[in-house]
Subunit: 219 residues, 2 copies
């Protein structure tokens, strides 16, 4: 599958290159002369395209053209379109990969696995990346749109539709609200005692509610 390839740390160091517009010069084969940061140019181009046309509207070919490189570079650097999308989101972690890793197993305990895994990740990275995500979401409208599409796409596609056939989109939004809210309260606002509670306590408290959103009854 198009999961993590070797060269793609999804967090992706900032780079924050300006809009990568391609030099339409003659592209030779082989390695280009030094200096051309293909990865960053792809990221910049992807942010423009994804924000402009959405996930389905944007195409790998156009993104690559905008970056001035071959479409195959998307696969080489990111492993596929979806990973490029999550990388363009600049999230502290790649929730798509996490979920793909955590979904297999007993569907009736998926809530526990999700909460446990996110706690592991967040406890190591700390709240700073989360705060950065929040700020960009609240500030830029494009970032909000991309994150919205991410929730609708990755959550629905990877998790909810596999365990609950009815109203997967609604369940995905509800799950997102609980996970997102937990992240804010525990890591950004640091409300006690939830901020310092051990994993077992948080899992025991939150997982049943998440499980109800996943497989429980809905009105």
């Amino acid at each position: 599958m198009a999961a993590s390839e070797e060269h793609s740390p999804s967090g992706a160091g900032g780079a924050t290159v300006d809009a990568g517009l391609a030099d339409p010069g003659p592209r030779r084969r082989g390695r280009r002369p030094g200096g051309a940061d293909t990865r960053a140019q792809l990221l910049a181009a992807a942010r423009v395209e994804f924000a402009d046309r959405g996930y389905d509207g944007a195409t790998v070919r156009v993104i690559a053209e905008r970056a001035g490189v071959d479409p195959a570079m998307v696969n080489h650097w990111f492993g596929g379109k979806e990973s490029l999308f999550t990388a363009a989101l600049d999230l502290p972690v790649d929730p798509g990969a996490i979920l793909a890793d955590v979904v297999p197993g007993d569907p009736e305990h998926l809530g526990e696995r999700i909460v446990a895994r996110f706690l592991e990740i967040w406890d190591t990275t700390g709240g700073a990346p989360l705060a950065a995500v929040l700020q960009s979401v609240a500030g830029h409208d494009a970032a909000a749109g991309m994150l919205r599409e991410f929730v609708s796409r990755v959550l629905v596609g990877k998790v909810v539709s596999t365990v609950a056939p009815d109203r997967p989109e609604l369940r995905a939004g509800l799950c997102g609200s609980q996970v997102f809210g937990l992240a804010i309260i525990r890591y950004v606002l640091k409300v006690e005692p939830l901020a310092s509670a051990d994993h077992a306590t948080v899992i025991g408290a939150v997982a049943p509610n998440l499980q109800r959103y996943l497989t429980g009854p809905l009105p």
Copy 2:
């Protein structure tokens, strides 16, 4: 119903208050000459003090002194220290007043009332104020601290401790996470179909989980 009594003097019962801390400044009695926006100055002073010393550490007297007005102005303009605190948070609504209004009644349906009331408020104000709150929380550390204290104080004091004696602080944080997360997903990110779902659907989906946080079993 709302916050509290309008102009109730804070130290009402005990007359003969301290004459010891007389401000040596030459403040005249009666209405000051125009131009001085007492309310705004109190708000600014309150933000500094609350952010600096927390809710308990900050005193009305020091806030008033910093604003250059009499402490009685806090009662006159805001109705008390707590209302000044929530006003200084600059939240789009006053959750303290909302909760105080919604808590009385059957504790087993408190979750429904909370969700219903917040939906009413947010649907009229829209997502812009919420995004502003998010941005300030993610950006400034002082804002995060104030909001944290608000969640710990108002939620615990007004809601959870009245319906659930055991571990009220933990329950308050959990409730806050769900309500906060719902606000972000529905009004800031606008994830469909949750963003457009009618109130009955949202209440039916979220209220049971909130109710479990309020009165249900916890690990």
